[in-house]
Subunit: 452 residues, 2 copies
């Protein structure tokens, strides 16, 4: 009997909230970004809502001088992997998807910290692979300017390859731990990576063993051609930003087709668009929540947000905010997001002010305002029509925005049979319905035996 | 009224145990190195014993092929910072001193993960600064051979300097979080590092704020001339390995004199030699515990241990283990440890077998075998006579070796008034009696005001 396909849910919960003005909301703790207690509460709420995973983005800099993209409240916070390690023993089923950079870390260190989080959490870790697309980050890592987009993606592909090799250093039955003979492990089941590539030379083995889910789930959010290629080749979960079902469908079908092209089962790569929900028992209540947060946006934060999302070079000093968005030169930064913002401005005929108000809640992710029924109608439509395998939920402010979703939207999803009523398993892979990744050396040995 | 000087205690507790054969001990869980539950129990035991801090060393490789230095049981384990993050919310007063490498990490990443651990733990983090002295690690980070000893120490000094600058990015009163005006922070109290040096170019600011203890405690274990210089200039705690009081005194006096030479208060740099205790209610019981573990050492593990401790190049294949240690060429690795091992062999006239049995418990740290009274007599002697400000305790096997210390030695230390009976504070600095490090920019502003 085939399992009914279920919606997967990520919870994208930076302690400072998603909306630019989130921290000014009366229900938000003003120090949320640096409050461990708030993050613990968020993890527990997400687990109460049976979310698959807690997700955190990451930056290797703060924007400074030109303002703070995403709102001042995010100027300082926790590093995601250390934060998730601390939350792991205080939760049981929730996955933890942390972002880390292939451009500014070494594969041995990346492999190690995620493998360690995966062991600590009993197999609930995921790695959101990013190339880090800001000049500000480059300036924190010995560079005068960042590497070109294409270079970053080539390095990323090799970085992921090395990390996955390192994660296979120990076969799952490598450990004997035989006190009588003194044999702790079977040396035939421990493997160096012996990687020599264009960007990295890494011998291995890693000094961390595999976890209950084999290795962390690979997550990506690439939208450009390079990004889609990398994601289709290696990712198991893809986050994406769309304003409408038709672009979501184009992306969904393209990713699944590319995955097939790499010989992969397209069901093993889950496409999850971001959704920023304002939820009311009546539509007017939802609208009121939206308007309330919009009214809290400072002009300077709106300007800084647009600057950040368009590549960091746009100077709006003295420009009429009630006029149209001027042309912006593309940069080597996050190309797909730059294009998305332009598209939102043009298709809607937005003024600069209308544009920043529109993207203030989720920086280009889909914002839905309505009753639980209205919101689930949309999610179901996308889910049933090749727009999504699940959604990454971005509550505009915290913790109440998350509590609204758990108390109002989750029950409606469950009522329609679209979402779980209890966790299926203990590991992130089990809950996401992703296969256990067999150790490459075990596969090779079996193939060699079969050929004999 | 001056506070009576108290002994500081670190607990150096790798889950696999310190002794080469620890994992074979009937009381050791064989999977201790990868068991989160064991590490949690150890942290809770250390806190019950009122230890200042849980300490973990670190390697960026496993020795492979030539055997595993320190015992096979350490072939795989946790990365220290992720492990300590997970333990922090499950403890209240215990400090966490994690090791991280200045050679194979970037300062922005180092600063960030330790600042994050420091926030999560409420100001209980410490960073043990190491340069990572193995060829195997170099091979995991794009190198064919490791950088020379002097190069590593120069890079280390600059790395620490950058990290400390980054930790001062936010003054302690930088955050306004004023919901009414929308001012989240005071830009005059956020500072870039603007570092341009020989090894690093880092603009900053860091995107993590300071913690309740200002910033993590800086710890080092350098014993060579380069190492002592770096430690005296920057460290607040120094771990060290000595077999006898006279060499401990030479080290202690030298470090304090060097610290004075840097204009530092010598009381703000705590010297803590390692001690590996075998504890019995009677001396015979202690001796029995020692002999039991010694009997569990496999010859191959003993040989691998000596190879590792002497720089990784010594081939003892076919050499008579009951003969003397052959000459060993010094390498670019951990020079001071190589010299210490040679000295132990020569001064005691040890055969190879006697040598590895002697260093099996703690790799050159001081091993004491006796009753609580005998052990505390030694600790008190070192503490009162310029040999030590405290000790880093290396229980030979776990968890019972630690429990012995907490139940038998700690009460005797307390009875003599040498050790606390309750934690003095909530941060690691408060408990160690180290001063709160003022933010450099606040100091500068005050100086500028005073000069007006």
């Amino acid at each position: 009997m085939p399992t009914t396909r279920k919606i997967r849910l990520g919870a994208f919960l930076p302690g400072g909230g998603q909306h630019v003005a989130a921290w000014r909301h009366p229900e938000s703790p003003p120090d949320g970004a640096t409050s461990f207690d708030l993050h613990l509460k968020l993890a527990q709420e997400a687990e109460r809502g049976l979310f698959d995973a807690y997700f955190l983005a990451d930056n290797l800099s703060i924007a400074f001088g030109g303002g703070i993209e995403g709102g001042n409240a995010k100027v300082a916070g926790f590093e995601p992997v250390t934060l998730f390690s601390a939350l792991a023993p205080l939760t049981k089923n929730l996955g933890f998807i942390a972002t880390a950079s292939t451009t500014y870390e070494e594969p041995y260190n990346t492999a190690r910290k995620f493998a360690s989080l995966d062991l600590i959490s009993g197999g609930r870790a995921g790695w959101n692979v990013v190339t880090t697309a800001t000049e500000a980050a480059a300036h924190n890592f010995n560079l005068d300017q960042q590497h070109p987009h294409a270079f970053r993606y080539k390095r990323a592909a090799e970085h992921v390859e090395v990390v996955k090799k390192l994660w296979d250093s120990f076969e799952d039955d490598a450990f004997l731990r035989d006190k009588v003979t003194g044999r702790f492990f079977d040396p035939d089941k421990v493997h160096p990576a012996d990687h020599k590539g264009e960007h990295f030379k890494v011998r291995g083995p890693l000094n961390v063993s595999r976890s209950a889910q084999g290795h962390p789930v690979i997550v990506q959010a690439g939208q450009s051609d390079d990004g889609r290629g990398l994601a289709a080749a290696t990712a198991e979960v893809i986050f994406t930003a769309h304003q409408k079902l038709d672009t979501a469908q184009e992306f969904y079908r393209d990713i699944k087709a590319r995955a097939r092209g790499f010989g992969r089962n397209p069901d093993h790569i889950l496409v999850m668009p971001g959704v920023s929900p304002f939820i009311g028992r009546a539509e007017a209540e939802a609208r009121e929540k939206y308007d309330r947060l919009t009214s809290l946006i400072l002009e300077e934060d709106g300007i800084a947000l647009i600057k950040g999302l368009t590549g960091g070079t746009l100077d709006l000093t003295g420009v009429d905010l009630d006029g149209p968005l001027p042309p912006v030169e593309p940069t080597e930064g996050m190309k797909s997001r730059q294009a998305l913002i332009r598209q939102i401005a043009d298709e809607n005929g937005f003024t600069i002010r209308q544009l920043y108000q529109h993207v203030a809640s989720a920086r280009g992710h889909f914002t839905v305002v309505g009753t639980p029924t209205q919101i689930v109608d949309i999610l179901e439509d996308w889910f049933q029509n090749e727009g999504a395998d699940g959604f990454n939920i971005l509550p505009p402010w915290l913790p109440t925005g998350l509590t609204d979703f758990v108390d109002l939207v989750v029950p409606e999803l469950q009522r329609r049979g679209l979402f779980r009523t209890a966790y299926e398993g203990r590991t992130l892979r089990e809950n996401l319905g992703l296969p256990f990744p067999e150790n490459r050396w075990a596969v090779e040995r079996r193939a060699a035996h079969a050929a004999e």
